[in-house]
């Protein structure tokens, strides 16, 4: 009944209630849109890391995985007998594909010029199945068929190719430390120019077939096995299953998920969470103050009525509960309205196809996309109810200080 009275009280001054609802709804919609933007950004960034070469999981000799620093890929490949491990991984559920991988560090030279590169050797057929492809901006992707000796191919990042003066079809020379510690060189033909979408990466990026990388490093081992799953949500269960299946493998292997191998992602996530958390707090503070003011006005207009309620035996707690209920109704209705506005705004933004400038370090503009989940509508409404209940504190305290006799003759 107290809740019902509170709800009916909202209908007493409809214009003010409508304005208060709009404030709450605007706050709720802002939170929803921010949450949707942040989620899409985080998911997009995470998927970019995964599709950009990290894969969901990396299986690596345990001796090369440090809890603090993640995988050590600098040393010579140490994962021997890896093909059997890859076969058993590929037979597991949710695994799209698994590829042996070698991480390469060295110099790429053309004519008189040499530049450092950070490269990777993968199996092209599996790379394609796993969706690890980079975006080709000239030429073609690596051949799927194993390259014959003397026919090795490479993809160069746009920035690296530009600095080197290399075009598709031209030969470049890769130099790297082989497994035995000697310096080895290999001529490869540039078959494509690609972009990862990240400017700094493009100026160092090189991709070759796994076989080519093994030739360059004179080894049959790999650095690790990159595993791609059919859904990012499956990362943890798949990691546990792979670790269980390969527990008897020699050398002993460990499984690292993509987040553990992308410290930059964690840093960006924490930074953005801090920024948006701060903005969200400001939104909530504004909603709280504005709603508190509205609620205080409604209470001050009803001082005589509240005095009468107290006179006939309503306890201060019951009157406070009535005010909090009134605030909670505002929060709930405003939250639901804000949810509807947020979803409508998201649909409009998607329909307009708004392009945003490239984020820092990126080379291409991004389409503004938001990801609002049904659960967001629930938590935003709950947050709004709590915020409005908080906003009711000041008016409630005012009520508790009322002297009944004075309230009854309040003007």
């Amino acid at each position: 009944m107290l809740a019902l009275i509170a709800l009916r009280n909202l209908a007493r001054n409809r214009r003010r209630t409508a304005l208060a609802l709009l404030v709450v709804a605007a706050g709720a919609a802002s939170l929803l849109l921010t949450a949707g933007f942040v989620r899409h950004s985080f998911n997009g960034l995470g998927e970019a890391f995964i599709r950009g070469g990290l894969g969901h999981l990396e299986v690596i000799p345990a001796s090369r995985l440090s809890a603090e620093d993640g995988p050590d890929r600098v040393g010579p490949p140490a994962f021997s007998d890896w093909a059997e491990a890859r076969r058993s991984i590929e037979a597991m559920p949710h695994v799209l594909g698994a590829s042996g991988a070698i991480v390469l560090h060295g110099l790429v030279g053309k004519d008189e010029r040499s530049l450092p590169f950070i490269g990777a050797g993968l199996e092209p057929d599996r790379e394609r199945r796993m969706g690890l492809q980079v975006r080709v901006r000239g030429g073609r992707l690596l051949s799927e068929a194993p390259a014959a000796e003397g026919e090795d191919e490479a993809l160069l990042g746009l920035g690296l190719a530009r600095q080197l003066g290399a075009r598709e079809g031209e030969l470049v020379t890769l130099t790297a430390l082989a497994s035995d510690g000697t310096l080895n060189a290999l001529d490869v033909r540039v078959v494509g120019l690609v972009t990862t979408g990240v400017q700094d990466l493009d100026s160092r990026f090189l991709r070759v077939q796994l076989l080519t990388a093994q030739r360059l490093l004179a080894t049959e081992a790999v650095t690790s096995i990159i595993v791609m799953l059919d859904a990012t949500d499956e990362t943890r269960p798949a990691a546990a299953e792979i670790a269980r299946q390969l527990q008897a493998h020699e050398p002993r292997v460990a499984v690292a998920d993509w987040e553990a191998r992308a410290p930059f992602y964690g840093q960006v996530r924490r930074l953005y969470a801090g920024i948006f958390g701060f903005l969200g707090t400001i939104v909530l503070v504004l909603v709280t103050l504005s709603s508190s003011n509205t609620l205080l006005m409604t209470v001050m207009e009803r001082v005589r009525e509240i005095g009468a309620l107290l006179a006939i035996g309503t306890s201060g707690g019951q009157v406070v509960r009535m005010i909090v209920f009134e605030a909670a109704w505002l929060g709930l209705l405003g939250g639901v309205l804000g949810g509807a506005i947020g979803v409508a705004a998201m649909s409009a933004i998607h329909a307009l196809g708004i392009q945003t400038p490239p984020p820092p370090g990126a080379v291409e503009p991004m389409e503004l996309r938001l990801e609002i989940l049904p659960a967001d509508l629930l938590w935003v409404s709950v947050v709004m109810v709590l915020v409005l209940a908080l906003a009711a504190l000041l008016p409630a305290l005012r009520v508790l200080r009322l002297r009944i006799a004075e309230a009854l003759v309040h003007l």
């Binding site: 006179a311 006939i312 006799a405």
Partner: protein, 230 residues
């Protein structure tokens, strides 16, 4: 040995602050009301009628003196105990009715029972009976703004009586009513006093009420000028 009074006040004083000036509203009032007795508190505006009712009804605290109800010294009662006393033993009728505008007549009368935790079927039955007793059985679903002044005051009386109080305070209950409606309200209060044995303390300067009163306490300048029983 005298019987225990329903409500008794001794040496009641109350001052209000008006800017920098202390304005005395009551200056040492002694008052006693027996169970089942009704009294009219009369006097000009500013004589202290409402202040006396507020102090007797636990709506305000005296600056000096004390009030006891059924033998219990209320100066020692907690705020919660006073709230419970008002909710269960006292009833209030105000000049401006003070009904909850968003509730129907039935819900308004039901309200004191609701806040006392009475179950819904019992509440509804008692509220309907109280409204029937004041002649509003056909106005249960009407909101205050759909009722006339007299009907609103009768709803307020039903609300004051629904929980069977022993004492009802009515502050200028006819002031906002025309003389005919006011007369009907006075008739109703008198009938309830006679039939139910409910005590009333009525503050008024309505001659029609004073004419019917068995006891009149006249206040002047915060003091009892006269206490007459007829």
């Amino acid at each position: 040995m005298t019987a225990e009074a329903l409500v008794e006040a001794t040496g009641l004083e109350r001052r209000y602050r008006l800017g920098r000036i202390d304005v005395p509203a009551l200056r040492g009032v002694d008052f006693r009301l027996e169970r089942g007795e009704s009294v009219v508190v009369a006097g000009p505006s500013g004589s202290g009628k409402s202040t006396l009712l507020n102090l007797l009804g636990c709506l305000d605290e005296p600056d000096a003196g004390r009030v006891s109800f059924e033998g219990r010294d209320l100066s020692r009662a907690t705020a919660a105990e006073k709230t419970r006393l008002r909710r269960r033993r006292l009833g209030f009728v105000f000049q401006s009715f003070h009904l909850i505008p968003v509730l129907s007549a039935l819900e308004n009368v039901d309200y004191p029972l609701l806040i006392d935790g009475v179950s819904r079927p019992i509440r509804r039955a008692r509220a309907e009976a109280a409204l029937a007793a004041v002649g509003l059985a056909d106005r249960l679903g009407h909101r205050p703004d759909q009722l006339s002044g007299g009907e609103r005051q009768r709803v307020a009386i039903a609300r004051a009586l629904v929980h069977d109080p022993v004492l009802v305070f009515a502050d200028e209950p006819t002031a906002n009513l025309d003389s005919r409606t006011g007369g009907a309200v006075v008739e109703l209060l008198s009938k309830l006093n006679t039939e139910r044995g409910v005590s009333f303390v009525l503050a008024t300067h309505d001659p029609a009420i004073m004419e019917r009163a068995a006891r009149i306490v006249r206040l002047a300048d915060g003091r009892i000028a006269d206490d007459t029983t007829r």
